[in-house]
């Protein structure tokens, strides 16, 4: 057993499962948005903001953001452990990535529920 403390779920199995579950959520979200755009060819601001004013859409969107954040963490963590062999560089990169994901996530929540 190889130990690690910076992976998303501390377990390969949970990371692997998370990667797949988050991918499914993101895929559903993408399909929904694309379908919405197709069915509303003359989309304007009111229709768009009307969609995002509904609670279920906010929850769905938040779920998709969280899925994206988790997916990115697992994926980029893997990339750093594959290619960055210097510990200092790798931990640095991982910190930047985690910070970035955190910022984007909070920003996304703010957009959804703010104002």
């Amino acid at each position: 057993m190889v130990t690690n403390i910076t992976s998303f779920g501390r377990s390969g199995l949970s990371d692997w499962l998370m990667q797949r579950a988050s991918a499914v959520i993101m895929a559903l979200y993408t399909v929904f948005i694309v379908a919405f755009l197709l069915f509303n060819p003359n989309l304007d601001y009111y229709a768009w903001s009307g969609l995002f004013n509904q609670t279920w859409m906010r929850i769905f969107s938040l779920l998709a953001f969280i899925a994206l954040a988790a997916h990115a963490w697992v994926g980029l963590w893997t990339v750093t452990t594959d290619y960055l062999k210097s510990t200092r560089l790798r931990v640095g990169a991982q910190s930047v990535i985690i910070l970035g994901i955190f910022v984007y996530l909070v920003w996304g929540i703010q957009i959804l529920w703010g104002a």
């Binding site: 057993m1 690690n4 390969g12 452990t81 594959d82």
Partner: protein, 236 residues
């Protein structure tokens, strides 16, 4: 018929500061011999050329090497399978330290094999005769136990190149599943708990180079998939 042009990786740690490629002209008399035969002809020209070989029939796994860019066993690879434009480039298995010429240090590869505890574990007292196993249960071991530890698969695997200390690699995982799939083995949970970290199994990205190069036609990617399924079943 012109001579076969062979370009081969040379490195002798005592005399060479860096490895280099050396050109050989080999007269195969137009026959479609095996790559190992060509190596022997080259060794007649230069006895210092080092490579491993033993059974010369594809069952001992000594002469895994990279032939025109693809890993395989020299003894069962006919020239017609690999030679293009009368040229053959031979390199040691990629990703492992070179000891000399075509001879690589297989230490990391063996270490990963040992790590999966490649032996039957059964905590019940042994009967006076053999343990019974139905033909159907035994069939599950086909495609697994035949591995010859030639390292062609693991050294063709990018995930193994990047993390040879942490990722078990296709060969080790194939053997891991060989014991997980054995109806006589009782250590399933213990074996699985040793594999659930993010590296040992999950570093497999399904690239399937292992399947493409296995000289015995085995499928480590499928075995890795089965291990994942077992891990999932165990943990959920």
């Amino acid at each position: 018929m012109s001579n076969l042009q062979v370009s081969i990786y040379r490195y002798n740690p005592e005399t060479d500061s860096a490895p280099y490629m050396q050109e050989f002209q080999v007269d195969t008399k137009g026959r479609d011999v095996m790559v190992l035969d060509v190596l022997h002809m080259m060794k007649e020209q230069d006895s210092a050329l080092a490579f491993r070989r033993s059974c010369r029939e594809g069952v001992c796994g000594s002469d895994g090497m990279n032939m025109n860019g693809k890993n395989g066993l020299a003894c069962i690879t006919p020239l017609s399978d690999v030679v293009k434009n009368n040229k053959l480039t031979l390199r040691p298995l990629p990703g492992l330290p070179v000891i000399r010429d075509m001879v690589v240090d297989m230490g990391l590869f063996y270490k990963q094999y040992e790590r999966i505890q490649p032996y039957l574990k059964n905590d019940t007292p042994a009967p006076a005769i053999e343990r019974l196993q139905s033909p159907e249960e035994r069939d599950k071991l086909d495609g697994l136990y035949e591995c010859i530890l030639c390292a062609c698969c693991s050294t063709a695997c990018p995930s193994f190149w990047w993390n040879p200390e942490k990722f078990v690699g296709p060969a080790g995982l194939l053997q891991s599943y060989r014991f997980l799939a054995d109806s006589r083995d009782t250590a399933t949970s213990e074996r699985l708990s040793d594999l659930e970290d993010p590296f040992s199994v999950f570093r497999c990205r399904g690239i399937m180079n292992c399947v493409a190069v296995c000289p015995k036609g085995l499928n480590p990617t499928r075995a890795i998939g089965k291990i994942r399924e077992m891990l999932l079943a165990e943990a959920t």
